[in-house]
């Protein structure tokens, strides 16, 4: 493919000019959470390699993951997972050709925005319960 010519052409306005909508925010968050999860697999690899390496390496992971900043990152990781998962499920619904009318777009958007944080909280309450916090 040859390089396109660099003539200055009028551009359509970018996102900063539009009123923010929930669907637009979710579209951006879907991509952002995907990128975050991409980077987050480094943590998964670190955890598994440490477990395979031995107790010393594993205790370093445990130290970081139980510190407040480690917990914060893992909490965000959990939310990103659920957010991306529900965004994906929404795309699956659209793949069947359903849910494109405005009413259902809005309903699906609200579900996609609200369910993942609720699930994240449930998972963390359950994790703290298994830790023996309650």
């Amino acid at each position: 493919m040859s390089e396109p010519s660099k003539t200055a052409r009028p551009l359509s306005p970018h996102i900063q000019i539009y009123r923010w909508t929930l669907t637009m925010m979710l579209s951006i968050l879907h991509r952002a959470s995907g990128i975050a999860l991409y980077a987050g697999t480094g943590l998964l690899a670190w955890w598994l390699l440490a477990a395979a390496s031995g107790p010393d390496a594993y205790s370093v992971v445990q130290g970081v993951s139980s510190a407040w900043y480690g917990r914060l990152v893992l909490f965000g990781y959990t939310w990103a997972l659920f957010h991306h998962m529900f965004g994906g499920i929404r795309h699956f619904i659209w793949d069947t050709g359903r849910g494109f009318d405005l009413k259902h777009v809005e309903i699906l958007a609200r579900i996609t925005a609200l369910v993942p944080p609720v699930l994240t909280l449930i998972v963390w309450v359950a994790a703290y319960a298994y830790l023996g916090a309650f």
Binding site: L44, A45, L48, A52, F92, Y130, G132
Partner: protein, 126 residues
């Protein structure tokens, strides 16, 4: 003898590579697989929130768990390679930097996949 066929019929004769929808299709297949696999991982991590090294490696060393983890690693790394490829194609416009970013994407996802897979293999086989 000259080929009397039209350009269209010549192209038709070659057939399609059958790969035109591969990116879309594999993106969806891995997305579907990722749902139960990540739910399993999150569930396992919740249950093992307070587990020590011995309990955790005992769990990860179970071959049945190892199979699920390998499937998750494979599916997730394939999925994120496709996703990041689209992100790069959308935002990186210089041909050289785009090519470089696409190659780095291949290297990174393959490295993560192999690192995780090797760790799981060692935990299972010991």
């Amino acid at each position: 003898m000259a080929d009397m066929r039209t350009p269209l019929s010549r192209a038709r004769g070659l057939g399609s590579a059958k790969k035109g929808t591969e990116h879309f299709w594999m993106q969806r297949v891995t997305a579907l697989a990722n749902i139960p696999l990540t739910v399993f991982l999150v569930g396992a991590l919740v249950v093992h929130a307070g587990s020590d090294y011995t309990t955790m490696t005992g769990f990860l060393g179970n071959p049945f768990i190892g199979v699920v983890l390998l499937l998750l690693i494979l599916s997730a790394c394939y999925h994120m390679r496709l996703g990041m490829q689209v992100v790069i194609e959308d935002y990186v416009h210089g041909e050289a930097t785009k090519l470089l970013a696409l190659i780095v994407n291949q290297f990174f996802t393959l490295t993560i996949a192999i690192a995780c897979a090797l760790a799981v293999a060692k935990l299972v086989i010991g």
